[in-house]
């Protein structure tokens, strides 16, 4: 279907006149056929055009508004029109797609994109679906796949303002990954929204491979989140702003008391070196709060997820589950942000340690990529946080890909993440973002040139996104499918008959 005709412009700023009975939209995909093939174009700006001079237009408008005149344009569809400004996305010659280096033929017609035009977008072997291709506001029935192994090991950023569909996109992504044997996801879920204890969620995945840890009202089949205190080491608290003397005191207690270092701080056990009483008192107070502990003379009590007896194998169980390409969701909605990050830090550190060992032993190739999903990522990847010292998440962002450990960082404030870290995140899923500083941060660090997409990003509606990735030929406009609808397609009632051998059935 012809939608317009190219009439002027230059490379990256091609201007087309819109056909009067058609409607062009920001972000719309169009095709200009050439002698050898075709060029895929995308609209990034829209403006008016007219054959009548501005002065005359203003006069005609005045006559209509002020004198209620019934003046009409002669042949209005010829004289007044809309213009679309477009950029080249890619040049397709037969089934081969190459970066565009020339302009479409002058005055060539532009038409709506069809499935056949997109046949060069093939499904990689390790594909995971990120959404359906979108042309303007129209979702095309054309799923977009990315190469999972590369995308997950080179980190993903999901950014957008609240309400633009980050959670739905993330739910879809987790759902799709559950059965992928090349990838495992560790999801730290501060809003307890992915498992779906009271709604449709990952618990409904037919594979039953999702492992869910929670500390409150544990649903049947889920695991109680209990972590043995002996698993916590001073290095796991590096994301917190402890002063140098406090850090030294922690290390001194750890050196002397080993796994019982937390207990020794709380119960004020003696050290070989002296620290200021105030330093130890502050340290004690902060650790008591962080780990939800209580003490009474010589006895330590655990009130929260950290425990003196239970949870000896929790971290190891989670890591083993991830190594089997499992999906582990940890409900962190019941504790503070710092406790959440500590839990994440404990698991991420152990995962990275194991994977480094596998690499040394030459066993890493057989292991799945482990990706850690972090909500409000600037809490650990923010400039201010990293100025105080590095942490395991920053380490993963910088060097995780060498060890098949990646991050899925979710934020509405990407500008708080240093450029060097953003540059290391090779796939960015950009949802609607109103704040210009945030748009700028994304545009500057995107894998493709998005400098002309500033307006398009601001105008992205709920569920609309642009995917910029080192592993995509161009910045892909996508529509995120509704999670509930997708899930309902896959939920099947199992009709198998259970065998309860050994139970006396009455």
């Amino acid at each position: 279907m012809i939608k317009g005709q190219i009439i002027s412009g230059r490379f990256g700023e091609i201007i087309a006149r819109q056909k009067s009975d058609e409607e062009l939209e920001l972000g719309e995909l169009l095709v200009a056929d050439t002698e050898k093939g075709k060029i895929l174009l995308q609209v990034y700006d829209l403006l008016y055009g007219s054959q009548i001079s501005q002065q005359n237009l203003e006069l005609i408008s005045g006559m209509k508004l002020e004198e209620h005149n019934n003046l009409e344009f002669m042949e209005p569809h010829l004289r007044n029109y809309k213009l679309a400004v477009m950029k080249n996305l890619i040049t397709i010659n037969e089934k081969k797609a190459v970066s565009s280096k020339n302009l479409p033929v002058f005055f060539s017609e532009i038409r709506e994109v069809t499935k056949e035009d997109l046949s060069f977008l093939t499904k990689p072997e390790d594909a995971f679906m990120i959404g359906n291709l979108r042309s303007g506001t129209k979702s095309l029935d054309f799923p977009i796949y990315l190469p999972g192994k590369q995308v997950f090991s080179h980190h993903i950023l999901i950014t957008g303002t609240t309400g633009k569909g980050k959670s739905v996109l993330m739910s879809n992504l987790i759902w799709d990954c559950v059965e992928k044997d090349y990838c495992a996801l560790l999801v730290l879920d501060p809003h307890d929204e992915y498992y779906g204890r009271n709604k449709i969620g990952l618990k409904d995945h037919p594979s039953r491979k999702v492992v869910y840890y929670t500390s409150k009202n544990v649903p049947t089949g889920a695991r109680s989140l209990k972590i043995n205190l002996s698993a916590v080491k001073p290095e796991h608290l590096s994301f917190m702003d402890f002063s140098p003397p406090q850090t030294q005191a922690m290390n001194a207690f750890y050196k002397k008391y080993g796994e019982k270092w937390v207990e020794s701080i709380i119960l004020e056990k003696p050290l070989n070196v002296e620290f200021n009483d105030a330093t130890v008192a502050v340290l004690k107070r902060r650790i008591v709060f962080l780990l939800d502990l209580d003490f009474d003379g010589e006895q330590l009590y655990c009130e929260g997820i950290f425990d003196l007896k239970a949870g000896e194998t929790t971290i190891s169980d989670i890591c083993s589950e991830l190594e089997k390409a499992g999906t582990v969701i940890i409900d962190t909605s019941n504790f503070s942000g710092q406790t959440e990050l500590l839990v994440g830090s404990l698991i991420a550190s152990e995962t990275l340690r194991r994977y480094k060992n596998y690499k040394v032993r030459g066993e890493l190739k057989d292991k799945p990529i482990i990706s850690v999903v972090l909500e409000e990522a600037p809490r650990v990847l923010g400039k201010e946080v990293l100025e105080r010292g590095s942490n395991v998440f920053a380490t993963i962002a910088r060097e995780g890909r060498k060890f098949k450990v990646g991050l899925v960082a979710i934020t509405q404030m990407p500008s708080l993440i240093p450029r060097v870290i953003l540059a290391n995140i090779n796939t960015k899923v950009i949802l609607g973002t109103e704040m210009s500083t945030e748009r700028q941060a994304i545009i500057e660090s995107a894998s493709q040139d998005l400098s002309s997409d500033n307006r398009a990003i601001a105008s992205l509606d709920k569920g609309e996104a642009i995917v910029s990735s080192n592993f995509a030929r161009f910045a892909l406009p996508i529509a995120v499918p509704f999670f509930d609808e997708e899930v309902k397609k896959h939920i099947k009632k199992k009709n198998e008959t259970n065998n309860f051998s050994g139970v006396k059935i009455e």
Partner: protein, 401 residues
């Protein structure tokens, strides 16, 4: 209400007849204590016997003990464990139950393909007891997945749940590779959760679950357990209070030797020094040697002489463990310290889907069941053709032939 919680008696475990008898003696001693302490009833949370068809002597002795308990009006409530039933669910416990000597509390109905357990009510105390059996290879997991907890949780009164499975949240570090089920599979709000299967002593309270208890085995059943636990144990619950009762039939004397930078002769000398002039009457001596010998090989250590010395000093039994011993001169052999069951599970999983079967959905379960069936030993007095027929029937049942 006062009751005893026993688990993992493994009567008939150990290959050596001397050690085999210890498990029987431990059971006798434990039941004697129960009588002395005047308990209302006894819970046995699985693995009373080490196999589904225990030896006649052990069966006879156990029956005698159970009969005495019955005569003293101490009911025994039991769930089958992973050891004391065959893959198809056959167990000698059924015979003992038919004789009225114990009550298997694993009973229920199937509704909408879900398992609804029923309570067995203890007449004396009114305690409501139910539970789920354990099966080899964690096959009980499916039972828990299909267990309808609604009726169990809504029942009023003092409720006890018996289980024979490893619980994820309570697993000790050394058993981290063991398959386990989350606590959330158990029905909430019971007074007591009587566990078995994992040979640890542990009592824990987790939100919604009071008194989740593993009493430990009545008699440790391998070298490491003897080293770690030293003796058997069980719990007595007395009006909300728990008392751990030790069962010590023989003493244990663990001897740990670091062989690093030592010659076999030096190791020998060191052991001789350690055991010199000691009385080992009624004691199991456990010699564990770890590290890398400076020269020679482990067989150069004169264990024969050491054993002779120990038996001369009246040791009840002597055992050695050299699985982590290597030599600088000879190539180190990598020892996988996982349990046999874990190694089997790993191998099964690695080979799943390699051949086309009509049971591809349940291949793992079927494979484990077949292996379990084929590992069943011939019973005393059982004729070869009877044994073969039994195995054939089991396999046919597993394969739905």
């Amino acid at each position: 209400m006062k009751f005893a919680h026993i688990a993992d008696c493994h009567i008939g475990a150990w290959r050596d007849p001397k050690l085999k008898d210890l498990s029987m003696q431990a059971f006798i001693k434990a039941t004697n204590i129960c009588i002395e302490k005047n308990v209302d009833f006894i819970l046995i949370a699985g693995d009373l016997f080490n196999t589904s068809m225990p030896g006649i002597d052990y069966l006879k002795e156990t029956t005698k003990r159970l009969k005495e308990l019955k005569e003293r009006d101490i009911p025994v409530y039991i769930i089958p464990g992973s050891h004391d039933q065959s893959p198809s669910g056959k167990t000698m416990l059924d015979v003992l139950e038919e004789a009225g000597l114990m009550i298997n509390v694993v009973k229920g109905t199937i509704k909408d393909n879900k398992l609804q357990l029923k309570f067995t009510i203890d007449k004396k105390t009114g305690a409501k007891i139910t539970g789920l059996l354990g099966r080899r290879g964690m096959l009980e997991k499916k039972y828990y997945e299909q267990l309808d907890n609604t009726n169990l949780e809504s029942e009023t009164g003092t409720k006890i749940f018996m289980f024979h499975t490893a619980l994820t949240e309570l697993k000790p570090k050394e058993l981290e590779k063991m398959d386990s089920n989350p606590v959330s599979f158990l029905p909430k709000g019971f007074e007591y959760y009587a566990g078995g299967h994992v040979h640890i002593v542990r009592k824990e309270t987790i939100e919604g679950y009071k008194n989740i208890v593993y009493p430990g085995p009545l008699m440790p059943s391998n070298f490491s357990e003897l080293e770690k636990l030293r003796r058997g144990t069980f719990y007595i619950y007395n009006h909300g209070k728990l008392e751990l009762i030790p069962i010590e039939i023989v003493k244990t004397y663990p001897l740990e030797i670091d062989a690093n930078h030592k010659t076999p002769e030096e190791v020998h000398e060191f052991i001789e020094q350690c055991i010199k002039n000691q009385d080992f009457t009624n004691t199991i001596v456990l010699i564990r040697i770890e590290g890398k010998l400076k020269s020679g090989r482990q067989t150069d250590i004169n264990f024969k002489a050491i054993f002779e010395t120990l038996y001369k000093q009246d040791a009840f039994f002597v055992m050695k463990n050299t699985s982590k011993l290597s030599s600088e001169e000879f190539e180190e052999i990598k020892i996988n310290t996982s349990s046999v069951e874990e190694i089997e599970n790993v191998i099964i999983r690695e080979h799943l889907g390699q051949i086309k079967t009509y049971f591809s959905d349940t291949e793992e379960e079927v494979t484990k069941n077949i292996m379990n069936s084929l590992s069943e030993e011939k019973n005393e007095g059982e004729k070869v053709y009877e044994y073969e027929e039994k195995v054939r029937k089991e396999i046919n049942k597993i394969l739905n032939l």
